[in-house]
């Protein structure tokens, strides 16, 4: 296990690469999904409000 974490002495170079990749992929996905959810909620609320006013 320690051997694996040590990455043949290159831990300081290998792990930051994988960390950055996961941070970037996860970060963009999280921001995009949260923004979409917020807009879906806002749109639903607006449409519900319109239907109440319409009749």
């Amino acid at each position: 296990m320690l051997d694996f974490l040590d990455m043949g002495g290159y831990a300081a170079f290998v792990w930051p690469c994988f960390g950055l990749a996961i941070l970037l992929l996860g970060g963009f996905a999280a921001v995009s999904i949260l923004r979409l959810r917020a807009r879906q909620r806002e749109l639903a609320a607006l449409q519900a409000g319109r239907e109440r006013q319409a009749p």
Partner: protein
């Protein structure tokens, strides 16, 4: 292509495709990271640092792929004035900038132990740095105008002019002397990379590509909803 330029139809299509694409992306990236870290062998020259390749190379490929997508969208925006093309270009630019930054950062982290330096001003590295600046320029232009349509057009022109950088990046390792190694996967004939490293790399690349396409659909959908919200709010203020 024209059939999908209709926002309503695009939304119906993405609603059907998004769940499957999300699952497939997670699967590919999960298997890719597992193979890259646990299964693929260390290189006989580079040792464990070769694992950096599984992040670095797909990120660099995506940096080019996303820019090509933006250039295509820019062309169809200028020629056919598709409203969806402007949205595609706008939501792709930050993703492309992210992939380019990742390629540069991981390249630097790979260069230090293998070349003995974080950075050299050679053709491959410099042309990719220019690509990052092009992305940042696109993002800045897209948001620089009061009238968003003018910003989109200006950015589309920059995207098309900047597309000349793509072949320069691709062939920089052949045209100039560089520390960077030449292409080992996308060359004619047999790839110069053993299958025990090629497969993890290809699965990672598929995962990165699916990730971009899934997020592209999701972000375009998000922008279409934002446009509907704006329209509804305008209608509401007009009524009051």
């Amino acid at each position: 292509m024209h059939r999908f330029a209709n926002p309503g139809r695009f939304l119906r299509m993405t609603d059907r495709l998004l769940p499957a694409c999300g699952v497939l992306t997670a699967l590919c990236l999960g298997i890719g990271f597992y193979l890259a870290l646990f299964v693929s062998p260390p290189d006989y020259q580079q040792g464990e640092t070769v694992r950096i390749m599984y992040v670095h190379v797909p990120a660099a490929w995506m940096a080019l792929f996303v820019y090509a997508t933006i250039a295509l969208a820019a062309a169809s925006l200028l020629i056919w004035r598709h409203p969806l093309a402007a949205i595609v270009a706008r939501v792709s630019a930050p993703l492309g900038a992210g992939f380019t930054a990742l390629a540069l950062a991981t390249g630097s982290l790979w260069g230090k132990p293998m070349w003995g330096t974080w950075w050299v001003w050679d053709a491959r590295l410099t042309s990719v740095l220019i690509l990052l600046f092009l992305y940042l320029g696109l993002i800045a232009l897209q948001n620089a105008f009061e009238n968003p349509e003018r910003g989109q057009k200006a950015a589309a022109l920059l995207a098309l002019v900047g597309a000349v950088n793509l072949p320069i990046i691709k062939f920089s390792v052949d045209w100039w002397n560089t520390l960077h190694q030449p292409a080992s996967v996308t060359r004619l004939g047999v790839p110069a990379i053993h299958s025990s490293m090629l497969w993890p790399l290809l699965i990672m690349a598929a995962g990165f590509t699916l990730y971009f396409l899934t997020l592209l659909m999701l972000r375009v959908k998000s922008e279409i909803l934002a446009a509907r919200i704006r329209a509804l709010k305008q209608a509401a203020t007009a009524r009051d």
